[in-house]
């Protein structure tokens, strides 16, 4: 065994000894002065990152007794990381089994990830635990799968109440429902569109996923080897529809959630939904809002909106470019939606102006694939043995606090490699950024869920002037113009407000009321004290995939990778509650912002 591996084994043995002996100071001493321990559920029944020896000690003081961690063991061979040794571990707790990732610097832990994989006695029936299917033997009371499934569909939500209702049947809600199905937690997904996948079908026609396929797999059933790298929206719609069926999800389409009230006494929600015109009351213990990273559309109240004679709508309501050939389109905004919509309008033959109000982080898709995602999520990563689970855990093992250090070099490389592209874009007047601290696009997404564009063609149109670029704030609209603050007048037949979304808890407010929404606070963001992500530092995404200040209320979502990976941790937390397994939450986050 080489020296690095020996150091890892020694650390693990010391850590195990300290934990077993209840020696909290001893355990903390195993961490470097600058260190981070990220725990996903296993110790904290929360998504938690603590910092430094003091943080470690505090986490352990509170959680060690009930967690009873043991059995830390190195799995596989430790490897050399950036200035550290990296190793994968397995471990157990009183109620579960988990995976850990360790980065050692000079014999002390720089980062530690502990993630719960499964609950003892409630392991997923997959692989060699998959159900038998056929009930072999002769059974006069045989109930076939179809009969059982039909019965469940008829009963659940009517004569039998679900444990969980998920509001929102997009990829997030669907992924979470699949996890809960595997954990045998009775769950209903309610979605206002008729069919699973409609949220994709209803988007503008040229839309494709911006993230490559290896990043996007849903749980249990990955896209096949034949699936395109960037899936067209309708293929994703079809996949979600079929996934919902074959993964046996209880999916109520054409169902709109109207109101939700929590009853502290019973520990259940009274959730009123409109199911194809019929009111139905559901009484789940847990309510999950899976309405997307974005909340309600943000439509700025520009003066003169009411007098504008042309078409105007938020990007989320944009029907696509077909009606606008030969028309003059003004798109307010310069991030993903704005670019997609501008390019589609240009392709149809509209005269397009993009109004950029603030800087945008632009990265060409191929370079993002090559430099940012490729090491973990690509054909070559898979071929080299990094499966989806390993990729997800590796990504999760990087604490948000220091992620910039990992990300900045990637974007420095991209800037250099694509200098010519960026120069042309800047020459056209486009205001570029690479995140507040040059830490790049991914962190910008994690901090504020917006402010970037994955270039798939629109930037070239901006660079060469095909799309006219205007800069500045909007002052007002007239009957036929958008007037900017500097007096520029843009004639318009169409105005598209690609002006983003509000926090998800705004959607919550519609459902559970403003008091609950305020109690829960802002959803998303890290507290990085950068644009649109005010401090103080949270350490984790606000309110995502973890307990909130409203008992029984949870938020799920994120991009496809997050929807897939974090659905596991949310499902485990919900399963534990369904089974009456104690879930003492460490470090329930304070609420610092309500929007």
């Amino acid at each position: 065994m080489n020296r690095s591996a020996a150091a890892v084994h020694e650390w693990v043995a010391s850590f195990e000894r300290a934990l077993t002996a209840g020696d909290i100071e001893g355990a903390a001493a195993l961490f470097a002065a600058e260190s981070y321990w990220r725990d996903l559920v296993a110790f904290s029944w929360n998504l938690t990152t603590v910092e430094g020896r003091a943080g470690v000690a505090e986490l352990l003081r509170t959680t060690l007794g009930s967690t009873r961690p043991r059995g830390f063991a190195v799995t596989g061979e430790p490897t050399e990381g950036p200035g550290c040794v990296e190793a994968w571990l397995s471990f157990e707790t009183a109620v579960g089994r988990g995976t850990a990732q360790l980065r050692l610097v000079e014999g002390r832990a720089w980062t530690l990830l502990t993630a719960l994989d499964e609950l003892k006695g409630h392991e997923e029936p997959t692989g060699d635990r998959r159900p038998r299917g056929a009930e072999h033997g002769a059974d006069p009371d045989r109930v076939t799968w179809l009969e059982r499934r039909t019965r469940e569909t008829e009963e659940l939500g009517h004569s039998r109440q679900p444990e969980v209702v998920i509001v929102g049947g997009g990829q997030g809600g669907i992924a979470l429902a699949a996890r809960l199905r595997q954990l045998d937690v009775p769950t209903i997904v309610v979605e206002r569109s008729p069919r699973p996948g409609d949220s994709w079908r209803n988007r503008y026609k040229s839309l494709c996923l911006h993230d490559p396929v290896w990043y996007d797999h849903l749980p249990y059933l990955p896209f096949p080897a034949t699936w395109p790298v960037y899936a067209p929206k309708d293929k994703i719609g079809d996949w979600l529809e079929m996934y919902t069926q074959v993964m046996e999800l209880n999916y109520w389409g054409s169902t709109t959630a109207r109101s939700a009230t929590y009853d502290e006494r019973t520990g259940r929600w009274e959730l009123v939904v409109d199911r194809a015109g019929e009111p139905v009351t559901l009484r789940p213990r847990q309510l999950v809002l899976a309405l997307g990273v974005s909340g309600k559309p943000n439509v700025p109240e520009f003066p003169g909106r009411e007098r504008f004679l042309g078409d105007q709508h938020h990007s989320s309501a944009h029907p696509g470019p077909d009606a606008y050939a030969g028309k003059r389109a003004v798109v307010i905004g310069s991030n993903n939606s704005a670019h997609d919509i501008c390019a589609a309008l240009w392709e149809t033959g509209a005269e397009v102006t993009m109004v950029q109000r603030s800087s945008t982080c632009v990265v060409r898709s191929d370079l993002l694939m090559e430099h940012a995602l490729g090491p973990l999520y690509s054909e070559r990563a898979a071929a080299s043995g990094i499966d989806t689970r390993a990729a997800d855990l590796t990504l999760a093992s990087v604490p948000y606090r220091i992620m910039g250090r990992f990300q900045k070099p990637i974007y420095d490389t991209i800037r250099e490699e694509d200098a010519e592209f960026y120069a042309r874009l800047a020459k056209a007047g486009f205001e570029l950024d690479f995140g507040d601290d040059d830490s790049g696009m991914f962190l910008k997404y994690l901090r504020r869920g917006s402010g970037y564009y994955i270039e798939v063609g629109a930037s070239e149109l901006v660079a060469d002037g095909s799309i006219t670029l205007a800069r500045g704030e909007v002052a007002e609209l007239t009957e036929r113009e958008v007037v900017l603050a500097d007096g520029t007048r843009l004639e318009a037949d169409l105005v598209v407000y690609a002006t983003g979304y509000r926090s998800m808890n705004g959607l919550a407010a519609d459902l559970v009321g403003p008091a609950v929404a305020d109690r829960v606070g802002k959803v998303w963001g890290l507290g990085s004290d950068t644009a649109k992500d005010p401090g103080p530092w949270e350490g984790e995404e606000r309110n995502m995939w973890k307990p909130t200040r409203q008992p029984g209320l949870w938020f799920h979502g994120g991009n496809l990778q997050q929807s897939r990976h974090y659905s596991l941790y949310l499902a485990l937390q919900l399963k534990a509650r369904a089974e009456g397994i104690p879930t003492p939450v460490y470090g329930l986050a304070e609420v610092h912002h309500t929007s």
Copy 2:
């Protein structure tokens, strides 16, 4: 390198040298006196097994010049097999790339498999060749995926003729269509039921697959880790429906094929179908019948059928047991369908008699899984690195002629391990066999497609007398009885003829006429000169997955494993013809039987 590996490398080098030099005798000398070379398309543009040095020499004399094989190389490490050394090889031909499997005994080839994997220039766009999906860049003439797909759906079969039409939209037709889609061969599947999967949905309610999941995967998109071992019929139905959609197959449900006439001059079929009441004429170059291993139902003409007052129908038309609680059911037959139907009737409370007319090979499902399938198709096989492709090729590498030698020990083990079960079954009067030569169930299936039962509960009911067993031929039916040849009278409210099926070319006769059907001859069987599989020896399955004596007519099917694996070779043969790649067929099989 150890001695075995050295022997393999030496053999491969010698083989390469001989082939390159055109030294046919030299190549043949590398084979043992008792030897077999099975070629799947690569050399023979057929599925062909030749035997002995003379067979090898003849194959090479005819095919070496056009095949131009080269580049034989050992992949991975040779291993010890049963009295031989086994190795995997890769190789190339003028037009393709392939995989080979070699078994060496004392330095000479005992078995050689050469299988075409892909055609150069027409490689499947999977994995790192998967399509991009999003058309990056700006394209004023952009056609979205949905528009392209919609256009294809509207045009194909109307303004544009398909290259291939597959008649039969069960798992066989669907698997083949998926392969052809990946090879960009315009294909339509016609199926008389409305939805993909209906052929499963319409079966009796307790039906589950008899083969375990690892054996059953469709191409490209394996069942997920959550899928049951023995899938209930309705889950399979849902999967097939989903697969058809996401794999973008052109599937015409509610479409019945009426007639097919081949035009030698144009090299196209005139295929008339009834599509939801409208006649449509399709003109494919290739017509594939994928109607299942079984052909038309075989309903014996027992005297007195017309006077019987109860219900009577073939097993394929059996509606299930629900109407027969408390009734007396007589099921003629003792193979799979008979057992399934008897057990379901018993569970519903019918009084059931099974009439066994000939012996049946019975094996309990768990033992089949453990001993017959497990080494290649199981969770443990997958975990040990034997993926589906490796398992399929390993299975294909065993020549049919000697398969009994590989299979008999398996069934000897099963007989011994389950001796108690077999004793009880025999005590109840059941007539058991293990194939004509004790070579077991799988060979019985390969030879005659029938004559076996994978025990999932019905045999226990026979053994304990819950299902009454009668033995002998049926003499006649009266108004209320089935009368056996020995005079036994069985009162009956229901008679089910679980009496099997005729050869698939009977179905062909309905479509293409008796002359063509006779020209093609019997479908299925090896020519083993055993019950229902008359000689002479064919070496391969009659007429399956390979050229027939009717140009442009092909048969696809088999169990799910065969549907999956052999769809590749059939698709490659069809692709080659679509691309005008020369396909000189070696050893087009003689027709010895027409039914």
